[in-house]
């Protein structure tokens, strides 16, 4: 046994602000529960049967008290709700310049792919002081990516991308758990988040390097799966050119306009008929069952790189 830990280690991000909110809630709890317990014990002792106490003038106008404590509870509760929601809203929206890492959860491991093509399993190395955005998918059932030291958690629901972001400030090794029950080895699905000083991280990437970048691997798949036959230059079928598409709005045939984010690219590969770009025929076949989550991540990274090319 290792002592009596009462406070989770903290690796930066919003952990400090979270802890402040937590302390605020603890104070409300201790004051309220303490007040209730104090009154319970005080009244129980003072007004016990057989004890001579002044029992004249019992309170008759109860509604004043009712209105009083109802209003007080309501105000405190609304205040706490707003505090918690404000922090959540900031947690929810990643900054623009975040480094994007693809994560795939499967029974019972976490696999990560860095933009440079580096891969790891049940480990995730990130630089300190940089915003990291995880784009996550599950290959089987629901998993949940949880790093207590960052106070962040996100369920990964199969069939779609989920994303979360964080910025770790303190180098160190922190627990990575799966927080959504996923079967036999749920308790063993996890490992470590390693936060490194930027220079050390650059070295780590180099040592792990040698592969092609994720986008370059995606480009090879783009040809291997035959995507380039239509979407590439000189394609025989009329299909949208993907240069500059990513990140912008896409007008659909049914009149809607969607944002070309990773969800849109993923869905367009797996369910091409669901959101057809305006002006094109729904002729693309589905690649569901042919492209695994790892390869999907590479294709998405490739289309992302085209987007930047077009925009730049």
């Amino acid at each position: 046994m290792r002592g009596f830990p009462v406070w989770p280690v903290e690796a930066g991000h919003y952990a400090g602000e979270m802890d402040a909110l937590f302390i605020g809630l603890v104070i409300v709890t201790v004051l309220t529960a303490g007040f209730v317990c104090f009154l319970l014990i005080f009244f129980a002792a003072r007004y016990r049967a057989g004890h001579d106490a002044d029992r004249s003038h019992t309170i008759e106008k109860t509604w004043r008290w009712e209105v009083g404590w109802t209003t007080a509870s309501l105000l405190i509760f609304v205040g706490l709700a707003v505090w918690g929601a404000d922090l959540y809203l900031r947690l929810y929206r990643p900054p623009k310049n975040a480094v994007q890492i693809f994560v795939v959860g499967k029974q019972w491991m976490w696999k990560a792919q860095h933009p440079g093509g580096q891969r790891e399993i049940n480990e995730l190395h990130v630089p300190a002081g940089r915003a990291i955005r995880l784009v996550m998918a599950s290959q089987d059932t629901i998993h949940s990516f949880y790093v207590p030291a960052l106070r962040v958690k996100q369920d990964v629901v199969p069939g779609r991308y989920e994303s979360m972001w964080f910025q770790a400030d303190r180098p160190g090794r922190y627990h990575l758990f799966c927080a959504e029950y996923c079967g036999t080895d749920h308790a063993r699905m996890g490992g470590w988040l390693t936060v490194m000083a930027p220079r050390a991280f650059a070295g780590w990437l180099r040592d792990r390097g040698g592969q092609q970048s994720l986008a370059a691997q995606g480009e090879q798949l783009f040809h291997a799966f035959g995507c380039s036959g239509c979407h590439g230059p000189g394609g025989t079928v009329r299909a949208p050119d993907l240069n500059g598409v990513y990140g912008g709005p896409v007008a659909l045939q049914d009149g809607r306009v969607v944002s070309a984010d990773e969800r849109y690219v993923r869905d367009s590969i797996l369910m091409p008929k669901s959101e057809v770009a305006a002006g094109y025929d729904p002729v693309m076949p589905s690649f569901a069952g042919q492209v695994g989550e790892d390869d999907l991540a590479k294709l998405v990274a490739y289309v992302q790189s085209l987007g930047r090319k077009g925009a730049g």
Partner: protein
């Protein structure tokens, strides 16, 4: 028993007269025996879980066995103990007596509800005996359809069947409360236990059918391969969560509203004083039942639900805490200038108020969006709902059981032992579950059979508390049985309480009242600590 006029226990004595009885009092006893059986099974699973968690390594049972243990613990405790516990036993027994009704409105439906419950329980136990279920009590999708290798279909059909027991009981209580009140028993003269049973019944009738549909969809997907929740079949896993929690969050109030009702009986009865703010306590039950239907999304803040949905659900979750706070303040205010007695039921009521307050306040942590991101799916949640359901509901159940035990059995239980058990239960409970708040805040996820060594000390404390709790739960089992044979005979009104149920014999005659009481005043009328019964013509 010789010489005294027959009561509902002695009127007929054959096995048949019990198994086919339509007397609400006898059916309540059938339910008592059954839920005690299920409580023991669920408790046994808890014991094994706590034993496994004493050490960080998974060394007592295999991981698959552990997963089956916590699933069994949850399924049995939620659907076969907590949901039916208070309504079908104490509610079934006391509700008609409180209204001075001859029986519930539909006595045969009441009996049918017990058979549905037993049939459902038998199927679920069969699933456990055949090899168990490894999904967790929440049956999350697509795991339950596509990845579980347990007897999911069988267990789910068992829960489906037991749902009819809930619906029939709820229906019976609603109609009884509307139609079978004694003359003079206006709505604002109803005991608060009736108000809370009524609110509970509304949830039982409205929410349980949703669970039934949801479970059938699960079976359709698992057995027939119809894609509803599994994305591989074109389904949506979040649809399961929405539908499941649309029932299961209100189900939390099914489990705790009756307990709140019992405490609202115990506090004035042992403070010997009119309850403070009767109408506010009564309507708070209705408000909890109503708002309770609108907060299910707070189980899904990190599940991928929309940001705006989360904001609304968080706000509504804070709102539903207000009526609970109102109840606590009113109970405390009732004690002011009372003539307080500390019999065992009141000790349970005190324990309930403390634990329910902590359980409720920690709910505020979980309703705070940012904090929920960190503590959801950790032991913090486990601790929170055990404070409400075990610290709250089970404490109140024991409080009510001690309070009405003389009425039910005609015998007095040994007061000293009962007080000792109540106190031991309180300390054992806190030792078991308070460390789990710390564990959750530290980041210990739920449903882990193995864990990092730095969490061990808190798990050891929790397991030590669980053994204390086990002893405390075993004590009433012994002294209640003891009292059936050796306990002193109970008078009609051993506590000097005011409700109608205390105006008839202990135990009551088969037809409840020899003469129908005419109700002349509210339920908790005490003058200088002296009770004034609700009716005077009996």
């Amino acid at each position: 028993m010789h010489g005294s006029p027959p009561n509902y226990l002695t009127a007929r004595t054959t096995i048949r007269s019990w198994l086919f009885s339509t007397d609400h009092k006898r059916i309540a006893l059938l339910y008592f025996a059954s839920i005690t059986f299920f409580f023991l099974i669920g408790g046994l699973a808890a014991v094994l879980i706590r034993l496994e968690l004493v050490t960080p390594a998974a060394d007592l049972v295999l991981p698959d066995t552990y997963n089956r243990l916590f699933t069994m613990h949850g399924v049995i405790m939620v659907w076969f103990f907590l949901v039916p516990s208070i309504p079908t036993t104490l509610g079934n027994f006391v509700l008609p007596l409180m209204l001075a009704a001859r029986d519930l409105a539909f006595p045969r439906l009441n009996l049918a509800s017990w058979y549905f419950y037993i049939a459902g329980g038998a199927l679920t136990v069969l699933a456990l005996l055949l090899g168990g279920v490894d999904t967790g009590w929440t049956f999350y999708e697509p795991y339950a359809s596509a990845f579980s290798n347990g007897y999911v279909t069988l267990a789910v059909l068992g829960i489906f069947l037991s749902g009819f027991s809930s619906i029939l009981t709820g229906l019976n209580f609603i109609v009884t409360t509307h139609k079978l009140r004694a003359p003079g028993m206006t709505w604002y003269r109803l005991p608060l236990f009736v108000w809370s049973l009524y609110s509970t019944s509304v949830i039982l009738v409205l929410a349980t059918p949703v669970l039934a549909m949801t479970l059938l969809m699960l079976v359709a997907e698992r057995v027939l391969g119809i894609g509803i929740f599994d994305p591989a079949l074109g389904g949506d896993p979040l649809l399961w969560q929405h539908m499941f929690w649309f029932y299961s969050h209100p189900a939390v109030y099914i489990m705790v509203l009756p307990a709140i009702g019992i405490v609202s009986e115990l506090v004035p009865a042992f403070a010997r004083k009119q309850i403070f703010g009767y109408k506010f306590v009564a309507w708070a039950s209705v408000a909890i039942a109503a708002i309770g239907f609108l907060v299910w999304g707070h189980h899904m803040f990190v599940a991928g639900q929309s940001l705006y949905a989360s904001l609304v659900f968080s706000f509504l979750s804070y709102l539903v805490a207000v009526p609970s706070a109102i109840k606590v303040f009113n109970w405390v205010a009732t004690l002011h200038k009372g003539w307080i007695r500390f019999d065992a039921p009141m000790l349970y009521a005190f324990g309930f108020i403390g634990l329910f307050t902590i359980g409720g306040l920690t709910g505020l942590f979980l309703a705070a969006l940012a904090i929920d991101v960190h503590v959801t799916d950790t032991y913090f949640v486990v601790a929170h709902f055990h404070y409400i359901m075990v610290g709250g509901s089970v404490s109140a159940f024991f409080g009510g059981l001690h309070y009405w035990w003389p009425k039910i059995t005609g015998r007095l239980y040994p007061e000293g032992w009962a007080r000792a058990a109540a106190i031991l239960m309180f300390f054992g409970f806190n030792l078991t579950f308070f460390p789990q708040f710390v564990l959750g805040w530290l980041g210990m996820p739920r449903r882990y059979d193995a864990y990092p060594p730095e969490f061990q000390i808190w798990h050891v404390l929790s397991s030590a508390g669980a053994s204390t709790l086990a002893v405390a739960y075993a004590m009433p089992l012994f002294y209640f049985f003891w009292s059936l044979v050796w306990g002193a005979r109970a008078p009609a009104n051993p506590w000097g309480a005011t409700g109608l149920e205390w105006l008839t014999g202990s135990p009551p005659p088969a037809r409840n009242f020899e003469r129908t009481p005419i109700v002349v005043r509210g339920p908790y009328d005490y003058v200088e600590g002296q009770p004034r019964p609700q009716a005077e013509n009996v």
